[in-house]
């Protein structure tokens, strides 16, 4: 059994113990605060690194997207030029056709005695539909490389590829492989504009 000391001694001991405990607690708290501050500093440093990385990646992505958009705009501008040229050509063709019709009318007016026949077919995209008899069991022999020299098909392919975002190189490869066009620059320049 422990002997109890005098009350005054006990109070002294208790005061000393309190002081000692308070100091220890203070030290522990300080150490914890230092550790916490260290963790916070580390976390902030890591966050700054992540932020810097993310910003760099975002910049790179934005740059890439800008390039894509620039390419697309270039392609669209190129097509607009082609369309304008084609419209001008079409207009010129129509002018010629109108002149021919005018001349034809003048000639027919000069020759009213021509025998009446079926009305001439109106101008349309496809004039000479094949009669059913032409679809005989005999195969219609088309050359295997019908694609060769099909500028309309090649041009449409190139235009569609450009609109769908294909690069100049991708389009050139398809034209070479699909249409056996070796010099693809003329079509590509017309659609995409001259290579920078």
């Amino acid at each position: 059994m422990r002997r109890r000391g005098k009350p005054s001694d006990i109070r002294k001991d208790q005061r000393a113990l309190r002081t000692d405990t308070a100091e220890r607690l203070e030290a522990i708290v300080e150490a914890a605060e230092r550790a916490a501050q260290g963790v916070i500093d580390d976390a902030e440093a890591q966050a700054r690194r992540y932020l810097a990385q993310a910003m760099a990646e975002a910049d790179r992505a934005a740059e890439g997207r800008s390039d894509e958009l620039y390419d697309l705009i270039e392609a669209l501008l190129g097509q607009a030029v082609v369309l304008r040229q084609e419209a001008e050509r079409l207009q010129a063709t129509l002018e010629v056709a109108r002149e021919r019709i005018d001349i034809g009318q003048e000639v027919s007016e000069e020759r009213p005695s021509q025998p009446e026949g079926p009305a001439a077919p109106r101008l349309r995209a496809v004039e000479d539909r094949r009669a059913p008899a032409e679809f005989s069991p005999e195969p219609v022999a088309e050359p295997v490389d019908r694609r060769r020299g099909d500028p309309a098909g090649a041009r449409l392919l190139a235009t569609q590829l450009a609109v769908s975002g294909s690069s100049r190189e991708e389009i050139a490869e398809r034209l070479r492989n699909g249409f056996e066009i070796e010099d693809t620059d003329a079509i590509l320049d017309a659609i995409l504009g001259p290579e920078a």
Binding site: R146, R147, A154, Q160, F179
Partner: protein, 403 residues
Amino acid sequence: MSDVAEGIGLGGTQALDERYLMRTYKRAPVDFVRGEGPLLWDAEGKRYLDFLTGISVCSVGHCHPDVIKAVREQTQRLMHVSNLFYTEPMAQLAEQLSESSLGGRVFFANSGTEANECAIKIARKHAHGRGVANPEIVSFESDFHGRSYGALAATPALAANEALGPMLPGFRAVPRSDAAALREAVGENTAAVLIEPIQGESGVFPITDEALLAAREACDEVGALLIFDEIQTGMGRTGSLWAYEQTPVRPDVLTSAKGLGGGFPIGACVTGPVAADVLEPGDHGSTFAAGPVATAAALAVLAIVDDPVLLRHVRELGAYLCEGLDGLEGVRETRGRGLMVGVGLEEGVDAAAVTADLLERGLVVNAPRPDTLRLLPPLVIDSDHVDLAVGLISESLLGFAPR
């Protein structure tokens, strides 16, 4: 989220399937319970890399957050009212589909088959307008257009099943990519040429530019419509929003489905100007189609897919995938465009057995024909996923390649 589902497990599901479902499918022994991006998990918690995406349906990956958000928001607001009324997502989606392709009008359906039914109706009515009494639709052998009777009749391999006869008359087929046979087949009675620009279900076979040009020219000569079934090839699968954009022709009508809804069922028949006004009130319809939830999902998918950067990524990754596969032991050739890839195997290598082995190894693909693996991965995968898939296919084929 736990990868192990608290459910009845594969055995329980198989037992219910065996007792209650019609025996129309031969399923692989896996019970998938969860998907995220290019990954799937089965009921036992095993993880798989999905290079099939539900046959090109989940093209933006499983459970894409944008699609989920669109569906969730729409389901909380309004799920269905029928086509007797207007709904905003339907109109917005129609605008985007038309403006991104042929510029005409859109009819919404619930599936690709239904979209093709609409296209067939358009073709026949358009032909009657030309004075054709018995319109005919020409397709390629090995085309797959669906399983309802109209679409089935345009799917020669399945239409040959006499047990399901009689078939709808007015359909004929010519050999795949045979330009001469196609020209011969198209005549005054032809209502349309209905083809897949890249045949999918028969094993991923791109139709040649020559045959496509022949189809376009033959249709123009007689006034028939050229219809592209872009149900599998469309929505960015081949590296352009629509596969026709990488061909030298432009169809009059195209059909879309599969990837359009990102996992939500929806189909669409999109016309160019020439066929835009063929169908009139009473000619066609659907109770569920064009519903606000399905069209909201499709709008979310289009916002992801109709992006030049993503489409370029698809083209580049497709080339990278084929580069990795070409030259592997057991591989004879690779076919396709973008991330629609058929892997032709060497003679003696059973594609079905390889598919089953790959499933065991954690890669989901399918075998549309005995000598071909079909790869339809999500469009949003990266080169690491491709490397992993090529590695698994390589390892698997080592066990099957003839010595």
